[in-house]
Amino acid sequence: MSVDVAESAAAPRRAAEPARRRPPQGFDRPRFLRVFAGVFFLVLFAPIGLVILFSFNSSRSLQDFQGFSLRWYEQFFQSESLRDSLIASVQIALVTMVVATVLGTMLAYGLVRARTRWSSAANVMMLVPLVTPEIVAGASALLLFTQVGLELSITTIVLAHITFSISYVTVVVRARLSALGREVEDASMDLGATRWETFRLVTLPALWPAVIAAGLLVFALSFDDFVLSFFTTGESPQPLPVRIWTQIRFGVRPTINAIGTFMLVVSTLSIGLALLLPRLFGRRESGLGVLMGREGA
């Protein structure tokens, strides 16, 4: 035992050594790939950087930066309609997150554990919302809501968001559940735990990094969704992305940059939290691995 601990502690140190000795220009890592990667990230992040920069601009201009100020943030938070939209967006995202996570987890459990001839078909069908063009999803949701006479409101947006979010949760949780294997649940029942106790004491603790990660992912997706919200929103309050779009039609104002930066921060935070949480609670796996369905180390 003591030998094992010593070994595992020494392992990272040993692994680090060869990296130091590696020749600076190995034939397997040509320089142009680094340049390529650099250009890629520049193109990817430069526009976002510009938005952030100009959100702090003291002048109205969208071309030259004239000094630091928070006036656009002030305008954003003082505008009542924008504040209502922000609150609506957060509400929508929260409800969507909770409901979709619960339903998606249940669906994943059913798909993995119920081995019937239908489950493989259901496994494929579940992916349909992920590949359906959002225009189609939005239009069909709108059609459905008007057909059944549901008045468009925050509720209809939430319903539409939940529908497409369930698939994301299921994909993430299902991967985790398959990796967990059936024998662990068998072992729990073998040791005297009922089905419910087994789910509560064994399955859920093993699943929760995936469940939390999926929930935060859904929050981010719902929070900045535009197309689906656009089709299913009522008059007011409109969710933030729809509100921004409405505003832009009357001319681009620098407030947009402030709102954009703010939304970026919220989305990044929720995804970052999804990646970090498993680690904070002492799991040796990364949230990224959980989201991508990789098994923990």
Binding site: D4, G181, V184, D186, L191, A193, T194, A206
Partner: protein, 353 residues
């Protein structure tokens, strides 16, 4: 009263019959092995005892009580799984205590019993370790302690040593047998490794195609296999095809081998003559032995012994095992192409149909 009794137990998965009319009685305190190739129904049998599968027909009795209506969590049996199936989010101590907590055992008693169980599997000092920090052998021990701590009336083991390397496996075999003797719990052990079954079991049931082919002590199963399948599956056996005659078997190569032909085996019947490699002599024969001449086609040096593969007339091959009593040399006695005489005592051969 027997610990487990199977009464005409059959299990079907759709069309496939996994277990076919199983009748077995396992005694209290016995180390009983179900041995067979993959797909022979041994694991299904185990899972039916644990309660994870229901028999399609027949009944299973645990301690004399029929158990078909008892769910797994209310059966007085515990399982050691092939994959260990440890709870990764719990440390070693909590893994072992899991079963006791479900049964609402007082905290103090849980602590002592967990400590005892970890002592038994020599894992004291690892109480707070996470399963992911343990080696394969240690995980194996945790799984064993987690099951034994509940003092089940039967412990079910599903190829528990399958994932360990050879050396550790041999060591664990000896330990498992010792632990079983110490706790005096009935062990039902599933394995495809015949050596493992021979080394540990009080009795072995050799299974094939959902049926028990032979159920007996290790010595009996090895020395007196009742059929070609058992003879071939347990250890290495030379199975020489031939025809039964009065007082022996006429091999397809023409030689008549003296052997004890069973009474129900009419002369002229197609049979196989089974001889274990270690019973075959390659030195000069004794009085009354069966002797056949052949050609060495291969010799395989394996350390403790040398396998000599001999081709008899008409292409029948047979393996003889030469013990390396003295230190082996590279220029050993047998060269490929040598002629030699193999011989065995007629009572060491078996006529199988």
């Amino acid at each position: 009263m027997s610990a487990i009794r199977f009464e005409g137990v059959t299990k079907r998965f759709g069309e496939a019959v996994a277990v076919d009319d199983l009748n077995l009685e396992i005694q209290k305190g016995e180390f009983f092995s179900l041995l067979g190739p993959s797909g022979c129904g041994k694991t299904t049998t185990l899972r039916m005892v644990a309660g994870f599968e229901q028999p399609s027909e027949g009944r299973i009795y645990l301690d004399g009580e029929p158990v078909e209506t008892v769910p797994p969590y209310n059966r007085n049996v515990n399982t050691v799984f092939q994959s260990y199936a440890l709870f990764e989010h719990l440390n070693v101590e909590d893994n072992v205590a899991f079963g006791l907590k479900r049964r609402k055992i007082p905290k103090d008693e849980i602590r002592t019993r967990v400590a005892e169980a970890l002592e038994l599997v020599e894992l004291r000092g690892c109480e707070k370790s996470q399963p992911s920090e343990l080696s394969g052998g240690q995980k194996q021990r945790v799984a064993l302690a987690r099951a034994l701590v509940n003092r089940p009336s039967v412990l079910l083991l599903d190829e528990p040593l399958g994932a360990l390397d050879l050396k550790l496996r041999k060591q664990m075999q000896v330990e498992l047998k010792g632990i079983q003797r110490e706790v005096e719990i009935t062990f039902l052990y599933v394995t495809h490794d015949q050596e493992e079954a021979l080394a540990m079991s009080d009795r072995i049931a050799v299974m094939e195609g959902g049926q028990v082919k032979q159920c007996s002590s290790p010595e009996d199963v090895y020395e007196h296999p009742t059929g070609p399948f058992v003879a071939g599956f347990i250890g290495v056996s030379n199975l020489l095809p031939g025809v039964a005659e009065n007082g022996g078997v006429r091999l397809s190569s023409g030689e008549l081998c003296k052997a004890d032909v069973p009474g129900d085996c009419a002369p002229g019947a197609q049979v196989q003559l089974s001889v274990r490699p270690e019973k075959i002599w390659t030195e000069e024969a004794e009085e009354g032995m069966v002797s056949i001449e052949g050609t060495v086609v291969e010799r395989v040096y394996v350390g403790t012994s040398t396998q000599v593969i001999v081709e008899l007339g008409s292409g029948v091959r047979l393996i003889a095992l030469d013990q390396n009593f003295s230190r082996a040399k590279a220029d050993d006695r047998w060269e490929i192409g040598d002629r030699l005489t193999v011989s065995w005592h007629p009572e060491h051969s078996l006529v199988l149909r």
